[in-house]
Symmetry: C2
Subunit: 344 residues, 2 copies
Amino acid sequence: MTRTCPTPHHEDDVVLIGHGAGGRLTAELLDTLVLPAFNRASGPLEDAALLPGYRELVISTDSFVVSPLFFPGGDIGSLAVHGTVNDLAMRGARPLALSVSLIVEEGLPLAELRSVLGSLGKAAQAVRVPVITGDTKVVGRGAADKLFINTTGIGQRHGSLHPSAALARPGDAVLLSGPIGLHGTTVLSTREGLGFEADIASDTRPLHRLVGALAPLGEHVHTLRDPTRGGLAAALGEIARDSSVAVEIDEHTLPVPEAVAAACDLLGLDPLIVANEGCLVAFIAPSAADDALAAMRSVPEGRDAVRIGDVLPDGPAGRVTLRTLVGARRVVDMPLGEQLPRIC
Amino acid sequence: MTRTCPTPHHEDDVVLIGHGAGGRLTAELLDTLVLPAFNRASGPLEDAALLPGYRELVISTDSFVVSPLFFPGGDIGSLAVHGTVNDLAMRGARPLALSVSLIVEEGLPLAELRSVLGSLGKAAQAVRVPVITGDTKVVGRGAADKLFINTTGIGQRHGSLHPSAALARPGDAVLLSGPIGLHGTTVLSTREGLGFEADIASDTRPLHRLVGALAPLGEHVHTLRDPTRGGLAAALGEIARDSSVAVEIDEHTLPVPEAVAAACDLLGLDPLIVANEGCLVAFIAPSAADDALAAMRSVPEGRDAVRIGDVLPDGPAGRVTLRTLVGARRVVDMPLGEQLPRIC
């Protein structure tokens, strides 16, 4: 019942893993089924929504189903804090409060639950965001896989920042705050025991300070997005679509760590579609691009920030292209479905 | 690792179904494991929390794991709206906005998902609360049971109302807005095919109007609570504990529908511990008790409101007693664990 499937195929009329991948299938599920139920037009989908009547407050919700619960660099607890804090940050907001809701499978060792919650609490404290309310549900063995965590965050916007996925403009510089591909390859390698997890770790970390560093640039900051599910390809594709612009990035500028490249080679994955949990892309007015890069590099989490491309002066709305190392151009497609399930 | 288990029993060091039941095991899990992780003292646990810096705004989160997804009177979609709207209402707030986060099992028929979301959207519209943000995750077959829904709500308090589980006072009248036991027995009967579901339906409904009707009574409204998981016994037990008062209710005033009584008889359940999703208990200053009862009866969802008891002038803090039909008194214990799993 999706757009790509105009004639009903009854065997397909079920939810597929790919519907949760953050790619085209997810977008179709949202457009055809979720948003109509809520009387929402399929306009730009932001990482966080404005609270009616309180224009400085934004809200974001995320359910975390990552498997395994623990991986190099983090666990589902820290990830649940960072993921929601970062979604708030992408709307130019600092976190005010978090809610935490647990769905626990009967039989989960209390030691694992304690460890995850300790990590969650520590991550929240590091960001100075209080956990103000919560909920705990337990389901029988086999009715869930160990532990799922929902975090919902309320954030307060920096007065000067109003970034939106719909505000990228021709000429904008496209900046990336750090290396890509670490989170997805780390989780996958840990889950499947591929061995790369000895050399890499998830980049899971909060990005609110990095956004704070950009706040003085105000209106010059057009768009912020953290390329999580679907990776950089999905993030750029959504921005190009929602802003009706064409984006071009340079392959030689892309910071792909060696171990990520090796893992992707082995797995047949494109690093562009691998999830990240600790970097962001910023679309910045050209006059402020150098200042923005300097501001990003002024905080540890943006130390390796680079300019990876531009919004083209003209070009088909919604198109993302990559200038390859040998100078050719290829179109970067939105990933269709799930190549990396349960990464976050 | 719970309070009742001072010597470690390694075979018990796992999460039990009862940890999610809203009874004593849940309280112990919260006190010993969840709240310490978040640096929270184990003070009164309210249905919704105040947002720091915005004292008129309250937040509540709930994950719904009810099985089956559809039952007489509602489904997981409408329940997810009502549950969170009601938690906000119990802090004297009307709902401003909802977030909705889905965890879907691969293979769920799209028709079922569409039906649930349609019901969710309709319930939200009936309450005039916009769904402003969301998230969708898909997990593989067997990693979840069909569909879990988290809703998180932001509410704005009626200026006059500041109810709290810690504010019940000696002499307060204890009012109940309607019959008890319908939701839990309906879901259980549907799940197990017991046949009672032909005669009963869940009471799932929003209670914000009922609370609105009480708003003119202002400070006389000491405590509001909807007796969901753990039923009336858990709600009264928590209030008695958090307010350090003794509560006594009269069995002959308790509205237990005949079909509920029959189902409870068969199942060996006490209607006092069965979950409700459409009634509330209100602790009201004695001088305003009659006005409060009249106000509750003025809206359809409070038509059958009754006074079921009082806060005793003295008596052991935290104790709830029932005066039985034959005039004896028995202590109403907080339910220990789970007698009715996955009711909400």
